[in-house]
Symmetry: C2
Subunit: 329 residues, 2 copies
């Protein structure tokens, strides 16, 4: 089996690569070949016995996708995107990468199939940013997509294209809307959502963290481990169960900042909690106010997608996967 | 005021042109200039005192939209599209005209505004084809869009683009999802929905008509007169009332084929009803089975959009507008 990962150098792409290399199989079939693509060349994974190709390529160039698809991968993970803040700041770049790039990919697959029958599994990472306030306290599986960012718009369009290309038989696609990833590994960044991870990750390593919103802010989370689990499950699931409704919100955990902090206290003690400094930021408060708080993901649950059911489990996953089991720093 | 109509040679485009010429104003402002565009040159309207330009142009050519937008129309009616059946039969053509053409238009407006401030009202005709079965008996304003045709997909993408370009301040857009137009004037055509009009229009002119489905089939209708009313209202409404949810289902009448026939009997008598011949067509029965039956259009109603409330009124509108008040043939 040949697996292509677009966006392989990103955080989720790297973790997915690690998981596939560790698993050695996908859906019961041996992974013989991995093609890893990103705008900066992804690292070649250690310990993979099969053929690996790492490529620096830009999906927004019309010639990129046909070249990748000509290798006829069996499974395509399409994680490549520029993030919300950048798509909002650079309108042209957002549409070029997140919309045109996605369309070039789907169209290259269709053209390849017109030459000789070909219908790969395509797993597309969408986002809860396809939803825009006001919304109900819990967003259900049939709630409409009214994004309030260009990024969310581009993801919603990608979902529609994926469903239509699937319905027409050009590819076998599934779009999964990821919750906010928490705890995001790495350094604190400037993303408005960064603090949800920062206030856990930094204290777990003995570092200070800033909390810019109040403790009753509620949001929707899954661990990096759960996100990779969604991708693998999406790649192996029988998609005829979805009918032509190929896009769905992934399960997650609805929790408040206060609940994050209480879980931190239980897992890492009062010392860790004391490292969180309140520093209200009205800009971030305003942005976060428009974000979804909770989802009813019955469809995904019925299809076997699973996320953590407690913030303690999310923190424990981070300690195991990122800190070698050791809290402190 | 300068009004641009894209798709001006189509049925709704022609009727909109007639209405604007008769009104002489739009939203209280005199219409001084009309630009009428279609892939076949629209007829120049009789009796318009202002400047009229009729153009044969294809919106799917990237150079078309910038040329039209350079004239800086105050209001743009974007009715241009290829229909559902053709978009399904010719995948490339559907995406080229219905998606690329729409994007070229919005992008040309943005580019014009980057040169010198410009933010026209854009009225985009969408369709209830953005919804796909299964759906509830009445589709509400927050139901999700899961089209089951490429045409519906292209319209749903147009809606998303319209909303994002509006939110970003590049244009002031509103997308209106038209019900099935009934009674559609002209000759019987091959559209699967044609019979809903045929069984009224033909008998009203003394001609036979074929009914391919059972009398309990329910669907969603508005007259051509009501559709033009939606467009005019959309062009003049204060859109800040919509927030960034710029697309909405228009009001209509939910009626069964049996109710159509009973209304025909009341308006035109038993003689007219006898001209309808039952001839079940399993293909059409199958297609129509996946269509929406009824809508809750509270949002549009609150904004002042109005449709007929009875099939008798729909028939009467046809007799007045198309038959000069005379039933028979």
């Amino acid at each position: 089996m040949h697996v292509l990962i677009l966006g392989a150098a990103g955080m989720v792409g790297r973790k997915l690569t690690e998981r596939l290399v560790a698993d050695t199989t996908l859906g019961g079939q041996a992974i013989e070949r991995l093609t890893l693509v990103d705008v900066i060349a992804p690292a070649s994974p250690a310990g993979f016995p099969g053929e690996v190709e790492t490529l620096e390529a830009d999906l927004s160039s019309p010639e990129t996708a046909p070249g990748l698809v000509a290798k006829r991968p069996d499974v395509v993970f399409h994680l490549a995107a520029i993030v919300s803040g950048e798509a909002e700041a650079d309108f042209d770049k957002g549409y070029r990468i997140n919309l045109d790039g996605t369309r070039y990919l789907f169209e290259a697959i269709r053209q390849e199939g017109l030459r000789e029958p070909y219908r790969p599994r395509v797993v597309f990472t969408s986002s809860i940013a396809v939803f825009g306030a006001p919304f109900p306290e819990r967003i259900g599986d049939e709630f409409f997509t009214t994004p309030l960012t260009s990024y969310g718009t581009q993801k919603a369009i990608g979902e529609l294209l994926l469903a239509d290309y699937s319905r027409r038989g050009f590819l076998d696609g599934i779009g999964i809307r990821l919750p906010t990833i928490c705890i995001r590994p790495g350094k604190p960044n400037k993303a408005a959502s960064g603090f949800f991870s920062n206030i856990l990750r930094e204290p777990l390593s003995g570092q200070e963290a800033v909390l810019p919103v109040s403790k009753d802010v509620r949001h929707w989370f899954a661990s990096p481990r759960a996100a990779v689990g969604f991708l693998v499950h999406a790649a192996t699931l029988d998609l005829t169960q979805l009918g032509w409704r190929r896009n769905l919100s992934m399960p997650g955990l609805s929790a408040t900042v206060g609940e994050e902090i209480e879980a931190l206290r239980r897992v890492a003690g009062e010392k860790a909690v004391k490292l969180i400094r309140d520093e209200p930021d009205s800009t971030i408060i305003g942005i976060v106010d428009g974000w979804a708080r909770d989802f009813d993901t019955s469809r995904a649950a019925a299809l076997g997608f699973k996320a953590e059911s407690s913030m303690d489990a999310i923190i424990t996953a981070h300690v195991e996967d990122e800190l070698g089991g050791t809290i402190g720093g």
